[in-house]
Symmetry: C2
Subunit: 308 residues, 2 copies
């Protein structure tokens, strides 16, 4: 039984070393090292090229090294009976909590205006505090829930929006498209942690930006496709949106001539909000491989209809 | 009985309105409105000019609107028998927690390098997480303790250093000058929240910078006098200190030609880390006035020998 390792981006040597250390005795190989494709029963994958997994007829499950799997779902050659397991691991969650708390606090304190405003900084003139700055989190899965709890600890009121609703103590939860306008109108900062699906694409567009609280802050650590970029730039220029902190983009790396780079109210971060750490992800992969072998349930399984 | 209000910096109208609302019926006046200086028994003060309080022979207590009182202690005309009460109020503590968490997280995530490093950001290449980034807090009073608790919640290991020691669950506490080197050597980020006293002046100097963990981060939200500025600039240029976030300075506003403004590894913030909010400070002043009138203890009383 061979386990395939496919990554066209990540440091394969580091990942394979950590996975072998966590799941001792496994036969883990990269595509070029495989003589008998029939022997491959599991695949651990980062970025794959379309059709790349078609060579392995006996594939029983795909384990993603990433939280986002839309590139896999877009691969029409992938047999629909093969389950896909998304990555949820402690460092990825921790990194997202650190990123979101850092930039929600930075937006509250207007760190982007330190340099230009110097001593007459608006925060100095009219300090604003967490209890007056409700944060709305869109996407209340593992990452969204962890961010909600950390922001509550820091004193922010927290709203949560998701497709089907969530229940977290202290968080005001909104469910479904019908409640999106109500959610946006009471959230001073909006944190996007949604997956990229047909339902979520351009979820922040001209219509939804118009319903934001005036002076809202937009933080996107989900996927670039969630935002209509032109609508965001217009909302920024109109002052409806005070600031945007963007970690993800339709095209990555963000092209050098993109207006986001030079916009005074936009902070661009290079898709680093949450990075899988091989040291903590490898034990999760090992555990899931063992569970699959024992026929036990694995989590979180991708629902292809839902898109994540 | 008249209560004097002296502030040469703050918005007197806002403060006086809030204080009158919190302590109804009091006779609160600014210096120019006072006909009989003998009637003044309490003074609520922000910045005072040296000798300014000498005109009031029956002063029984001074209530500071600020946490820092070194300007009062430097006024040799102030009668030594008049107690001084420092300001501790919820917004001041909250603001400091927000500032410190924001900049500790920003230092962990290297937000200062987003623009220059773009897609090859070091955090992307080698992510670092809170558990590997111990924060050392110098000054474990109300502000330091509150910051320590919030940083622990965010997953940072926390060390605390103070003159006499402190005891906070989960915080490794160091007491006294003898233990300063040990404290600094195990703290990746050092947060200064000490008062400005003869003992704390230049507490970070060439000798102590030499004992910092390599790549340490220095965050000063205490007083400018705590740091030997030339030694810090040299430590930054030598790479011993990775980054400094400075909110307080020997001269404020920081002069336009000061090297801190243009140094690529220094973030200057214009003394806004923690600002007293009249809405939450006025009830504290009212309560302390009532306690003084009833002969009850007030807190925190300034110890002139200690210097804070």
């Amino acid at each position: 039984m061979t386990i395939l390792f496919v990554s066209n981006d990540e440091a394969a040597d580091v990942w394979m070393r950590e996975i072998r250390a966590a799941a001792s005795g496994i036969d883990l190989r990269q595509p070029a090292e495989i003589d008998e494709p029939e022997s491959v029963v599991y695949a651990i994958v980062g970025r794959t090229r379309p059709g790349e997994l078609r060579a392995y007829p006996n594939l029983r499950a795909i384990l993603s090294m990433w939280a986002g799997v839309e590139h896999l779902l877009a691969d029409e050659t992938l047999p629909s009976h093969v389950p896909i397991v998304r990555m949820v691991e402690p460092s990825l969650t921790r990194g997202m909590v650190e990123y979101v708390c850092c930039h929600v606090l930075g937006s509250l304190l207007r760190v982007d205006r330190y340099e230009t405003d110097r001593w007459d900084h608006p925060q100095r003139m009219a300090p604003r505090f967490a209890p007056d700055f409700p944060v709305g989190i869109m996407g209340m899965g593992v990452l969204g829930s962890a961010c909600a709890k950390a922001l509550l600890e820091l004193g922010f009121p927290v709203n949560g929006w998701s497709r089907t609703g969530a229940s977290i103590e202290g968080v005001t939860c909104f469910a479904g498209r019908d409640r999106l306008a109500a959610f946006l109108s009471v959230s001073r900062a909006v944190v996007l942690l949604l997956p990229n699906t047909p339902e979520t694409r351009n979820i922040l567009d001209r219509e939804t930006f118009a319903g934001l609280a005036t002076g809202a802050v937009v933080i996107n650590a989900g996927r670039g496709e969630l935002i209509d970029d032109d609508a965001l730039l217009d909302a920024l220029d109109a002052g409806r949106v005070e600031r945007a902190v963007l970690d993800v983009f339709r095209t990555e790396p963000l092209p050098d001539d993109h207006p986001y780079w030079s916009h005074p109210s936009v902070t661009v971060t290079p898709h680093l909000a949450s990075i899988t750490d091989p040291r903590t992800a490898a034990p999760v992969l090992a555990e899931n491989l063992a569970r699959l072998e024992r026929g036990e349930p694995v989590w979180p399984l991708v629902d292809r209809e839902r898109g994540y």
